[in-house]
Subunit: 330 residues, 2 copies
DNA sequence: TCTAATTTGTGCGTATGTATG
DNA sequence: GCATACATACGCACAAATTAG
């Protein structure tokens, strides 16, 4: 079933892969059948176990065969053209992901499968998910979010298969990435909005340490200090007396809804009495209350750039552009 | 009591352990009960005696069971803290999932891990995901969406571990479920809105056959016929001249945005010239254009009920409630 | 009391994949 | 490519305790 030409340009492990693929296409191997064991192949063809292993591993990550410890390798799939499987680790499921994810899939080559996981800002889960899925995927796209020491887990993956998404950490600089520069972006976008911000007495960042990137808070504070603005960073809207002349930066939509309702309850007028800058643009913000001003990265572009990087196998670092979208709420 | 999946990644001895743990947690095995003998298990499931022995030994060292030579194994301890893994298969990632998913996690017992997959309305992917993950999870929660013949794949899973979510098919009635009755719901909610609908000349359902449930279209047509309304079902907004007097039912948010923009472009007035009923409520619809009227199931409740069903091991069918939320757009 | 069947417990050997250096 | 340790799975032989007849 397996034929190896000793002195030819093509690597032996690729010859093994081709042999097995042919056997599946020709029907010699059917779904559920066992492959010859690593030992028997390496003995019969006088190859190193590692060479055979490399071949079998690639067939595994492509989803064509499956390995069972203590038993052997089994054919999973008749279709040999399933080229790649991608492991995509998000922080949490929220509506910002919708654009990113659909744009990523849209621009990805066909018959690539993407499996999606969520770590929920929990390091144990983050680490467990990476370790459990090591070896099963061709590419690992990871959103480290604001977790610490993510490199401990990530470094256990094959370096050339890892991509970092959204937040960049200093220990992860060795990996290709599509990321946002939160500190820079918030400063430059708030500066663009400065004339409008100056209408207000005080600028307030609603900041949940466990979910938002630190760069956002740092950039915010730098901006406020360099422009001598009265400012505050608060963790929640609870017990906050809504004062005329406040402008809020709000990174999540639940609080956005809450604050707009509060504003209406108190008969305050958006953009006159209270200002709102929302973080991360989603579909309907264009229409809410005549339009919510947002600072947002272009999630569609982020997904597209990530897909292109995977398609072309380029290993680069791309800072995703970030824009201020001025609307009625400021 | 013991279920073993032959060709799967999870080792057989671990499957035996999990089976027995589940039997204890679910009450099938009580304190003092005898386990089936090593021989009977190894014969019944065609396993090596040693494999079964390995599993029973681990249960013994964990203090869950006790062995008596010449007699058998007996359950010592009711309290088994099993960290469960749940397989959750969604159709696609969209913002409606956010509430459902977060509410599900919130009400689930702690240290349960949920892995999420998406089939994208693709049967091959649906089937592959189920087969590849068979045996690796304690529970399988599956959104069959509008795919046909989903039971072929689903029936290969252990029956008592399967839960159906959102859409119910006749071949899946044997499984517990939290579902919507789309046909009934759209009829009753449109009837509630009938006085307002009668303001308009024509009612139009925007219906993407590949994504939306068939019951929605069937219910819509029944409603229109029984109330003698001029109606239409269209697949896309392209080439649609927006006519005064039309009321639209719009199941997805991209088209909702498109139509509202079109309405504004043409200087038509929402709820006077054109009506909108949106399907599936999300956070910001309350605020868009003074409020968008929606027909929606309560996704928070759906997640909660699903979590409760898993927590209590009840195997029932729950029709999730569905409501008309009247707002400015109708 | 003897016997046969069943059960747990132990030891040894072989084959497979996995991980590391 | 090689060597080594480890995890999983299967099979066989034999000992010791228990139970049913």
């Amino acid at each position: 079933m397996i034929s190896i030409q000793q002195k030819t340009g093509t690597p032996k492990y690729k010859q093994i892969i081709a042999s097995i693929e042919n056997a599946i296409v020709s029907g010699t191997l059917k779904k559920g059948d066992a492959l010859p064991s690593i030992n028997s192949v390496s003995m019969a063809h006088k190859l190193s176990r590692d060479t055979v292993l490399m071949a079998f591993n690639e067939l595994k990550t492509r989803g064509i065969v499956q390995s069972i410890v203590g038993k052997g390798y089994y054919v999973l799939n008749d279709q040999v053209d399933v080229t790649q499987k991608i492991f995509l680790l998000f922080d949490e499921l929220n509506s910002f992901k919708e654009d990113l994810y659909s744009s990523f899939l849209k621009h990805l080559d066909k018959n690539i499968r993407v499996d999606t996981f969520f770590h929920h800002f929990n390091y144990d889960m983050f680490s467990k998910l990476i370790h459990e899925n090591r070896g099963a995927y061709n590419q690992y796209i990871i959103m480290p979010a604001n977790l610490k020491n993510t490199h401990v887990a990530i470094d256990s993956l094959p370096k050339e298969r890892v991509y970092i998404l959204d937040q960049m950490h200093s220990e992860l600089l060795k990996y290709p990435a599509v990321y946002q520069n939160f500190e820079k972006d918030i400063i430059s976008n708030l500066n663009k909005a400065l004339p409008l911000i100056k209408k207000y007495n005080r600028i307030i960042l609603l900041f949940d340490e466990s979910r938002q990137p630190e760069g956002m808070r740092i950039g915010f504070e730098k901006f406020c200090i360099s422009n001598v603005l009265e400012h505050a960073v608060i963790a929640s809207l609870e017990n906050l007396p809504l004062a005329k002349g406040d402008v809020f930066i709000i990174p999540d939509d639940k609080n956005l809804l809450r604050i707009i309702k509060k504003i209406k309850e108190k008969n305050l007028v958006l953009s006159q009495d209270i200002g709102i800058i929302s973080y991360n643009d989603t579909l309907l913000k264009e229409l809410v209350e005549g339009g919510i001003t947002t600072i947002s990265t272009d999630f569609n572009k982020m997904g597209e750039q990530l897909a292109n990087m995977i398609n072309t196998k380029e290993q680069v670092k791309i800072e995703n552009s970030n824009a201020l979208i001025l609307r009625n709420s400021l």
